[in-house]
């Protein structure tokens, strides 16, 4: 009794997660394929019921885009280059945002996902401060849709009210469905490619790949090993679950 308790204490005193992740959902984004077309941005907006905030709020940086394209110029005319990089929640394994939440509104689940539980959120917004990628978006207002645009809203995703933080979930509703299907189907594991977030699904250049990096055969695991692979702001040691493949040169 006592010894098991002590063992438990010891086990839980080690940094890290559970025993291991059931799945470790990971995304790779090949910047050599990415053209910055923003199909992913709209796909996310459609899938996850992101609000239409309006020009005035946009002008004050109150937009909500769970995935956004960042643009970086390099050089000056005429030798000027543009680099696009889609930035979404990196689902860091060592996520600074999770630690700071006083009410466990964000935590790491068994799928290696950095989850955001809207119901628990009290809106301290500290997670957005702690996030170096600035991918957490706050509901400054309760947003409404001009009738009948609300008919488009995805019933699998909740609509958030004012005062709640939100962010990319790797389309957790799709993961849930895939896992349910796999469970119904003789309790097998989710197959590679069976679940794709909306952004990955839409990408015309197939720049994004999503899968379970616990599975060495998964496409995402292979992509991660690409020599061009890197993680954004790797030096901060947040161990993101999004691996970027650097743009190649001619």
């Amino acid at each position: 009794m006592v010894s098991t308790f002590v063992e438990k204490l010891k086990a839980y005193s080690k940094p890290g997660y559970y025993d291991e992740f059931e799945y470790h959902w990971t995304m790779t984004i090949d910047l050599d394929r990415c053209t910055g077309c923003e199909a992913c941005v709209v796909a996310c907006q459609a899938e996850n019921n992101l609000p239409i905030v309006g020009e005035k709020r946009y002008a004050r940086n109150r937009e909500i885009k769970w995935i956004r394209i960042e643009r970086y110029w390099e050089g000056d005319y005429p030798d000027v280059k543009m680099g696009f990089i889609p930035i979404l929640c990196q689902h860091c394994d060592d996520a600074p945002c999770e630690t700071v939440c006083p009410v466990f509104a964000t935590y790491h689940n068994r799928d290696g996902l950095n989850t955001q539980v809207y119901n628990r959120c009290i809106g301290t917004r500290s997670c957005a401060i702690y996030c170096p990628y600035e991918v957490r978006y706050f509901n400054w207002f309760t947003y409404t849709w001009d009738e009948p645009l609300e008919q488009q809203l995805n019933p699998d995703v909740s609509v958030r009210e004012k005062g709640v933080m939100e962010k990319c979930t790797f389309c957790i509703q799709r993961i849930r469905i895939a896992k349910d299907n796999a469970k119904d189907d003789d309790k097998r594991r989710v197959r590679d490619g069976e679940v794709v977030p909306a952004c990955v699904q839409s990408c015309p250049t197939e720049a994004m790949v999503f899968g379970d990096s616990n599975d060495p055969e998964a496409e995402v695991s292979k992509k991660m090993k690409n020599e061009r692979g890197y993680k954004v702001l790797e030096e901060l040691n947040t161990t993101p679950s999004v691996v970027y493949l650097k743009k190649a040169h001619a």
Binding site: F104, E134, N139
Partner: protein, 441 residues
């Protein structure tokens, strides 16, 4: 210690209690004004914000914290001198503490309450703020004790509790004096407030011991509170905030602004309640010296921060520093440096140090500087973190500015109520400093 000759024990009771028991129209006008300002500038905009959403404030995607947090830190900082100074001076047996500590502690309490109000104003869903306490809630989930914000919750709760107890227990004998000097309902109320204090040797003895223990607990507590507040920032990895020096920096800054706050409050007590007899040159002189010391420490830490950023040489930190020193908010930064690092040097001159009017100006300038400092920390660092394309900008909205102004009115209101309910100067401790009542001296 007494500029105008020794008062008698009875004089002390009369002088102090009269400020409580005799209320002129000026008081009511003042109270009415501050209360109206509090309602109009603080509570009504807050109500509007509750209705609309936090978007009523100027915060945005890049700057999700704004003046609410910087004001929170400011008020927490202002709270720092009262109780801490009182406790330290109690333990070290400094007699000059005795006539000022009650008001100083009240300042602690009320600025802490104002600070706590700012947390309420800040959070997105204030109606769920109790979820941060380890009490049962509909989520069936207790808070995350690994969170720096939980440190805050615990620290501020403890600080508020401890400060309240500290000031209350120190006032119990004085409540008894009020009881004895009054009649009717007030007498009944103060009978309850004073626990039936008679001033027996045993009571004094127990109170003395308890009070010393309160002081002993409060000192590390006060230091921890502002350290913890600083960790809200320093434990993040935001460039410009992620500094190990932050805890001492905040604590020092807190005591600094708190001490300046005491000077301001003492000035008002002297001016409006006629406490010239009890709050005199020695207090001003001592507080002035303290201010100089704190200002020098504060300047040193600022220089250190610049140096370590420069020496560290990472792009993130250098960019943040560059923006702070030369960006949009640079005028505010240099204003802060002027008010908090250079202006206090004037206190070296006796001419300044010994003049209440001049010290009032200096102390107000210091607190303006400290208010700016908190604002700069928030407004220049948060919108410019790691990804340049996500750089943004923060400008407070009218709601935030109004609420900031309103918070001073709330503080003033609380203080005005306080002086009518609690003797603003400790009766028995002032008496202790007087010539003992002995037949044979």
């Amino acid at each position: 210690m007494f500029d105008h000759g020794q008062p008698s024990y009875a004089d002390v009771n009369k002088d102090v209690l009269s400020t409580m028991l005799e209320t002129g129209p000026r008081y009511w006008i003042l109270l009415g004004t501050t209360m109206s300002i509090a309602v109009i500038c603080f509570f009504m905009p807050w109500l509007y914000q509750l209705f609309v959403g936090i978007g009523a404030a100027g915060m945005n995607r890049n700057a999700v914290w704004g003046t609410y947090i910087s004001n929170f830190i400011f008020w927490i900082g202002l709270s720092h001198s009262g109780t801490l100074l009182s406790a330290v001076l109690h333990i070290t047996n400094s007699h000059w503490r005795k006539s000022i500590y009650r008001s100083a502690e009240a300042m602690t309490l009320f600025s802490l309450m104002t600070a706590a109000l700012f947390i309420m104003v800040h959070v997105g869903r204030v109606w769920f703020v109790h979820w941060t306490f380890p009490i049962p809630n509909p989520m069936g989930l207790w808070p995350n004790f690994r969170s720096p914000l939980m440190f805050d919750v615990m620290a501020i709760t403890t600080y508020l509790t401890a400060s309240s107890i500290f000031i209350y227990m120190g006032s119990v004998p004085d409540f008894a004096a009020v009881r004895d000097a009054s009649t009717g309902l007030r007498r009944r109320l103060y009978t309850i407030f004073s626990f039936g204090w008679r001033g027996t040797a045993r009571e004094w003895h127990t109170l003395g011991w308890a009070y010393t223990f309160f002081a002993v607990f409060v000192i590390p507590l006060a230091v921890s509170v502002h350290s913890i507040v600083s960790w809200d920032f320093a434990l993040s990895i935001v460039p410009g905030l992620h500094h190990t020096i932050f805890a001492p920096y905040f604590v020092c800054g807190a005591i600094y602004s708190g001490t300046a706050g005491i000077v301001t409050v003492m000035y008002c007590l002297r001016k409006f309640l006629g406490f010239e007899k009890y709050i005199g040159q020695v207090h001003l002189d001592n507080l002035g010296k303290l201010l100089i010391a704190l200002s020098l420490i504060w300047s040193y830490i600022n220089i250190l921060e610049l140096f370590s950023t420069w020496y560290g040489g990472t792009s993130f930190e250098l960019e943040a520093l560059k923006f702070r020193l030369t960006g949009f908010y640079a005028p505010l930064y240099w204003e802060m440096i002027t008010f908090c690092a250079f202006v206090p040097l004037l206190i070296f001159f006796k001419k300044i140090r010994w003049s209440w009017n001049k010290m009032l100006v200096v102390s107000i300038l210091i607190n303006i500087g400290m208010l700016t400092e908190r604002f700069i920390i928030v407004a220049t660092s948060l919108p410019r973190k790691f990804l340049p394309d996500a750089f943004g900008f923060y400008l407070p909205s009218w709601v935030e500015i109004s609420i900031t102004i309103g918070s001073f009115a709330i503080f003033a209101t609380l203080f005005l109520i306080f002086i009518k309910w609690v003797p603003a100067v400790s009766l028995y401790e002032v008496k202790e400093t007087l010539k003992p009542l002995r037949r044979n001296t």
